[in-house]
């Protein structure tokens, strides 16, 4: 299943999909990162010394579908992990949820706030491996293709008449003017204001190559990504088996790659991955963590593993149109009655001590500005849950469940069928709420049915799935919780929240934006439109001989710094 997105902002939204997947897999994460600009220079500082050469085999859980990650066809992590090593990036999110302007001379400059004009300067040294420099032309062509329109294409479904298959227009559609100042400098005017502009210009292929392909934007990069502006370049793709990248000897960055090749071995069945690692057939895995899988990898003496926490978080969405859930007393009782710590202890703690309850639905715990809000709900409290119900006019029946006006509180809890973890979560929550007198019935559906049909139609009472936070949290949260928004599945509506969200979305100062983000969350703890559970862990296993490989739990994924990967001095000797 293809997952989702990476472009920062929006992100949040999409959610879901990805995660789900249970059987098929995978991927999860995605998404962006952060709002703060701490400018951490990750490169070159503390990198461990490397020996020459080496080849790393990565267990990819899906085969790429092509290489233009900006189309809806190729917009998944399987493609992202490959092109992350090849294309031009103005900016990448750091593991700390900061931004690193890898392809720029510096942070984009705010030339004017009203109208909003921003200036970007591409790094002077940035070049493709065929010798051409990375120029404004590459960026401009990229922008033009995304926003290419043809009046003949206008239809009910396509009101703007877009020509190309583009996964995501957010940010680009606000651009009113793109102006090339010189080969390396360009200015962009936005209207309306686009606060998350710092995350723009990623995954950019070479314009000259794309223009020369018969398939153009949509399919021109299906078989070959073209010249590389990254630390590796495309070598070979054996369909159904593997894809090989080799060192780009002309890489312009400061840290030169030393690995000869990175091989993506396609292994969609995640249960095959730990065995392949144990049997020396792959060197690196990055699957959805699961108890047995993690234990199995941790048993291996020649492999180090790392659990990280990304922007993806599990939560319960309440359908506020439900006759019981529209009553705040019931939502309060659920929030008091669900033992989030117990869920974490049962499902996450066995493989990570750092796993913890999440107390914020706009920011995740490793993000700057995170606050543990919702103090009164942090510890489970069955007594308070029952108090809330009694205060709401409910009375306990002989069967131990509360009822009002003769109607017993009985709610469906729905999640993605086939995802064992989620299914187990549902059973735990059902048992916990039974103790405070609320009856739950398990009613799961496969991810596609849940996300495509049931959630949008409001055919659920309590839904358990994941949202993806973001480096740009305000835009994401606004899309999810704003009155009338498409992904506001629970039909939440709060004028005060809408006001704060709107303010946040046009705030160009990222520090102030984070404060507004926190305020948005506090507002929601009063209404309880949903209940965050915990941040999902990511899991990276890598053979000991490799150095400098580490996860980046934002949407960048583990390949964010592949230029500094290598084999250790000892192993090379």
């Amino acid at each position: 299943m293809r997952d989702t997105r990476r472009n920062p902002w929006l992100l949040a939204l999409f959610v879901v999909l990805a995660l789900i997947a249970g059987a098929c897999g995978s991927d999860d994460d995605d998404d962006p990162t952060a709002g703060e600009d701490t400018e951490e220079e990750t490169d070159s500082k503390d990198i461990e010394e490397r020996g020459a050469g080496g080849s790393l085999v990565y267990a990819a859980d899906q085969e790429p579908t092509g290489f233009n990650g900006n189309t809806s066809k190729d917009n998944g992590t399987s493609v992202k992990n490959v092109i992350e090593n090849l294309f031009f990036y103005a900016v990448k999110a750091t593991p700390e949820f900061g931004l690193d302007y890898v392809g720029l001379e510096g942070e984009p400059e705010i030339v004017s706030e009203d109208p909003q004009v921003i200036e970007w300067k591409i790094k002077k040294s940035a070049a493709w491996d065929d010798g051409k420099p990375v120029t404004t032309d590459d960026v401009e062509y990229f922008y033009e293709q995304i926003e290419l329109k043809d009046p003949a294409k206008v239809s009910e479904d396509n009101p703007k008449g877009y020509v190309n298959d583009v996964a995501n227009h957010v940010g680009y559609e606000q651009i009113t003017k793109f102006e090339a100042v010189d080969d390396k400098t360009f200015r962009v005017t936005f209207d309306p204001v686009f606060a998350d502009f710092r995350g723009l210009w990623t995954d950019i292929p070479q314009a000259a190559f794309m223009k020369a392909q018969a398939g153009g934007w949509d399919t021109g990069l299906d078989a070959n990504p073209g010249p590389s502006a990254g630390p590796y370049k495309f070598k070979e793709w054996k369909k159904g088996e593997s894809l090989t990248l080799e060192k780009n000897t002309k890489w312009w960055g400061e840290d030169k790659p030393t690995l000869d090749t990175i091989v993506f071995r396609f292994l969609p069945e995640s249960t095959t991955q730990p065995d392949a690692l144990r049997n020396n057939e792959v060197d690196m895995i990055y699957p959805q963590p699961q108890l047995d899988l993690v234990d199995q990898v941790e048993q291996l003496t020649d492999v180090k593993s790392e659990i990280g926490f990304g922007p993806v978080f599990e939560h319960l969405t309440f359908n506020l149109k439900n006759e019981f859930l529209k009553d705040l007393a019931v939502r309060k009782a659920i929030a008091h009655g669900v033992d989030r710590d117990a869920i974490v202890n049962a499902l996450m703690k066995p493989f990570s001590d750092k796993a913890a309850r999440l107390d914020n639905r706009v920011l995740v715990s490793n993000q700057e500005g995170y606050e543990a809000n919702g103090k009164e709900y942090q510890k489970v409290d069955p007594a308070k849950a029952e108090e809330a119900l009694k205060a709401g006019g409910y009375t306990k029946g002989a069967d131990g469940f509360y009822a009002k006006g003769g109607k017993k509180i009985s709610l469906r809890i729905s999640t993605t069928a086939g995802n064992q973890l989620r299914e187990q979560q549902g059973e735990l929550i059902k048992a916990q709420l039974a103790k405070v007198g609320i009856e739950l019935r398990i009613d799961n559906s496969p991810s596609t049915v849940l996300f495509r049909d049931r959630l949008p139609a409001g055919d659920f009472d309590i839904a358990n799935f994941a949202w993806v936070g973001s480096v740009f949290p305000v835009g994401g949260a606004k899309q999810i919780y704003e009155t009338g928004s498409d992904s506001n599945y629970g039909a939440y509506s709060n004028a005060e929240f809408d006001k704060v969200a709107k303010e946040g979305a046009s705030e160009l100062d990222d520090k102030k934006q984070l404060e507004l983000a926190d305020e948005m969350d506090k507002e929601m703890w009063k209404d309880l439109p949903n209940l965050p559970l915990y941040q999902k862990p990511t899991f990276l296993g890598i053979r000991n001989q490799f150095v400098n490989v580490g996860d980046n739990t934002t949407n960048e994924g583990p390949f964010w710094n592949s230029q500094v990967w290598g084999v250790s001095k000892a192993a090379a000797a």
Partner: protein
């Protein structure tokens, strides 16, 4: 006079794959094959009373006594009897399920991922399910699915295979093409395509059973068709026809009783096949919906636990293995019982 029961196609019943005669599109070859296969049975020791079955009435008597003799032989088959005993025990336990299980199958204890202990003889899973209780419940569901499949698939197979073998001609041509049609598509893949519609249903074990039945009736149908093709040429059938017995009576009063041995064998083996198919579906992501469970699902979801929580991997798998193994042994014993030829080779 050949014992009709013995003729019933030694090979056909041997596995649910196909006997040569049943695949052929061409009626000539199958007939000859059956006659050929039967021909060397005729010299075998006749276990039956040897009463020439010239009339329908006589024959019923003979068929019944054949059945009794087969039962006697079966009762003497030690491996099969032991298997049957184990099977009855396991089935009894699983049917009692909730009564004898130490916990309710969907009850969550606060003992997570613990190996076998006195409290939890088979250990617990990640959220505190008692594995023994789950295995009992799973066995119940699996057996439920398997029995339903055996019943449905056998019924469809006997009816269609019987019609094809009895009427031959265009009826046979149509039914044989239908069988070919189902056979041209790999069972597992066909199930997956069909199951895509049902995977989000609650209580989908019923749907799973129906789907499995819909694809595996062909095995029984081919066996029955082969037997009927040969039976219809027999004197007692001709005699019945000569005295004007209607087709329905001939089929159900005369032919089915004579084919009962292989049918029972095929039905038995279908039970094991259904349990395994259900587990394969669970492995490919189409198991019964939680909180319910089945043996196949328990085995499938714990497939990664072999090295880390071995009890989760081995106990459900072993129980499933024991059930299928016993069913197959019973089927094998039945086959021997209905086909005594197989036991009297050398002195």
């Amino acid at each position: 006079m050949p014992d009709p029961i013995m003729e019933s196609g030694t090979f056909n019943a041997a596995t649910e794959t196909t006997g040569p005669m049943s695949v052929a599109d061409d009626a000539d070859i199958p007939d000859e094959a059956i006659v050929g296969a039967a021909s060397h049975l005729t010299s075998g020791v006749q276990p039956g009373p040897g009463v020439p079955a010239t009339t329908a009435g006589d024959f019923d008597v003979e068929a019944r006594s054949q059945l009794r003799m087969a039962m006697q032989r079966f009762l003497r088959h030690r491996l099969a009897m032991v298997s049957l005993g184990i099977l009855l025990l396991v089935m009894g336990a699983s049917l009692l399920g909730g009564k004898i299980a130490p916990y309710k199958f969907d009850e969550l204890t606060d003992v997570y991922s613990q190996g076998p202990s006195l409290d939890h003889p088979m250990g617990t899973d990640a959220i505190g399910h008692d594995l023994l209780s789950q295995v009992l419940r799973g066995a119940q569901k699996s057996v439920q699915v398997a029995l339903l499949v055996a019943l449905l698939a056998t019924s469809i197979g006997v009816i269609l295979g019987g019609l094809a073998g009895f009427f031959r001609g265009w009826v046979d041509a149509v039914i044989s093409r239908l069988i070919d049609l189902v056979l041209t598509v790999p069972i597992i893949l066909l199930l997956l395509v069909m199951a895509a519609k049902f995977k989000d249903q609650r209580n989908n074990w019923l749907a799973i059973a129906l789907l499995i039945s819909a694809v595996i009736w062909t095995g029984v149908a081919r066996v029955v068709r082969g037997i009927f093709l040969s039976l219809r040429e027999k004197e007692f059938v001709e005699a019945a026809r000569a005295i004007g017995a209607p087709s329905r009576r001939i089929i159900f009063r005369h032919m089915v009783p004579n084919a009962i041995g292989p049918i029972i064998v095929a039905a038995t083996l279908t039970v094991a096949l259904a349990i395994l198919l259900e587990s394969a579906l669970a492995f490919l992501g189409l198991g019964v919906s939680p909180p319910d469970t089945s043996l196949g699902k328990l085995v499938a979801v714990n497939i990664g636990a072999a090295n880390t929580r071995p009890w989760l991997f081995y106990f459900p798998g072993a129980v499933l293995l024991v059930i299928c193994l016993c069913v197959n042994f019973v089927g094998d014993g039945l086959r021997d019982a209905f086909d005594p030829q197989q036991n009297r080779v050398r002195q």
